[in-house]
Point group: C2
Chain length 262, copies 2
């Protein structure tokens, strides 16, 4: 995808349906964003859920009700077209996976852009820490946990975490680097003891793919942006749109600008 040089170009290709693929690795250094779109009547509880659970649910930006535009994270954006692929759920059931949701847009829809682990992975890689799932060309392994999120209205549930094996001698570095990105999940929530957070078997992730853990490595767990989606789905909302997994919005904001914005 080297022909897509800027985030704006990627969004424009997605808008006309010419690009419908995953965005992993595109425009390194630029923040990519998850999407949850809910009717206004559910927006307060969801925003409150995010405020109460900033580690698994880091809000980057909330659009005005009915608006497909953003003020901060992308200029010249159309939220109904500029993600490469969407998922539409009705009463908790997946009903379609379109590349454009213009035809089902409603004036009462509120779009939430949510931070993504791509941002902190780029920082970890830049510091010389291998991301095993990237080396193995897999999705990061994600697990349901016994850590209760703070509930807000109808939204309640447990944290989902992502796991990355880190060599023991790099664990401190992994912590200090992700501490500098509190806007995108921040520091790990567990190191080395999966059972303590209710994970029985690392070889059987609930989402994504298992990865190998080599001798001398420790499994390190971060709060995961799948949490808010899982929590929304559990409440079986009448209508919700999300991005399709891996098909994110590439924003105009660089990861190293997040601290100035949020």
């Amino acid at each position: 995808m080297t022909e897509f040089v800027t985030p704006k170009q990627i969004r424009q290709q997605a808008r006309i349906g010419a690009f419908t693929g995953q965005t992993s690795g595109m425009c390194p250094g630029y923040t990519q964003a998850n999407l949850v779109i809910l009717p206004k009547k559910e927006a307060y509880d969801f925003l409150l859920f995010a405020q109460r659970n900033p580690k698994p649910c880091p809000i980057l930006e909330v659009a005005d009700a009915g608006s497909k535009r953003l003020q901060t994270f992308a200029q010249d954006v159309d939220l109904a077209t500029d993600f490469p692929k969407y998922r539409v759920y009705q009463n908790g059931e997946l009903v379609s996976e379109p590349t454009d949701v213009t035809d089902i847009w409603r004036d009462d829809l509120v779009s939430f852009l949510i931070g993504c682990s791509f941002s902190f992975e780029a920082a970890l890689i830049a510091a010389g820490i291998e991301m095993r799932h990237i080396t193995m060309k897999r999705n990061v392994p994600m697990y349901k946990t016994n850590i209760k999120a703070k509930s807000a209205g109808q939204f309640h549930g447990n944290y989902v975490v992502s796991m990355r094996p880190i060599p023991e001698e790099q664990v401190v570095k992994a912590i200090t680097i992700t501490e500098r990105l509190p806007q995108v999940h921040g520091t790990p929530i567990q190191i080395g003891d999966p059972e303590r957070i209710g994970i029985q078997n690392l070889d059987q992730p609930d989402f994504g793919d298992a990865v190998e853990i080599y001798p001398g490595e420790v499994p390190v767990f971060w709060a995961c942006g799948v949490t808010p989606q899982a929590v929304v789905m559990e409440s079986k909302p009448e209508f919700v749109i999300t991005h399709a997994p891996g098909h994110m919005l590439v924003t105009d904001i660089r990861d190293n600008q997040l601290a100035d914005i949020l």
Copy 2:
């Protein structure tokens, strides 16, 4: 007030009306909080305003609608009694300044706890940086600016900032220390050039008291928690309760725990 040893004791004295004074300097190290209480119908726009303007409007915690309790910042709290003094506004006009709002409580009221500069002042003082307004036993000087906050629904307006004179050689230290407290206003937004943000005369603050600036000192401006109150008042809401200036809630959370919570 040395007889009040713990935050809980202060809250209990406030609850029974035995303590109705300002909380400045009480329980050093514990986070104090501003208060805005709005009807539920205005809560979404206010929470969105805070999300869009985290520097002037750092939300510590939002209570459930109708609830006088908190989950995180204080155990055994009654939000209708535990601030030493409140202000009640109707249609934008101050109508009373009670020490208890139990009798006017409503099931649709949402309480927002907002961070306060006391938290970062404690850190600056601990680092050997004089807070001139404290030395002079005055309120910190606050100024309206030309910096537009991002609007949300009915809530719009400009930043209010607080000013502290800092010796030139301590300015870098003041920045790095407040950078570590993004949960309570974070880094300064202007250094040394008040006219650039629309402040004509440092001797005439819009709120609080003027302070002296000595030779070799630079005026440093931080986003101020008065901003959300000013913005709410500008919209002349039908009903709003705030704390009385300086009469804060003393919470059970220490300033150095904020990064773990928010």
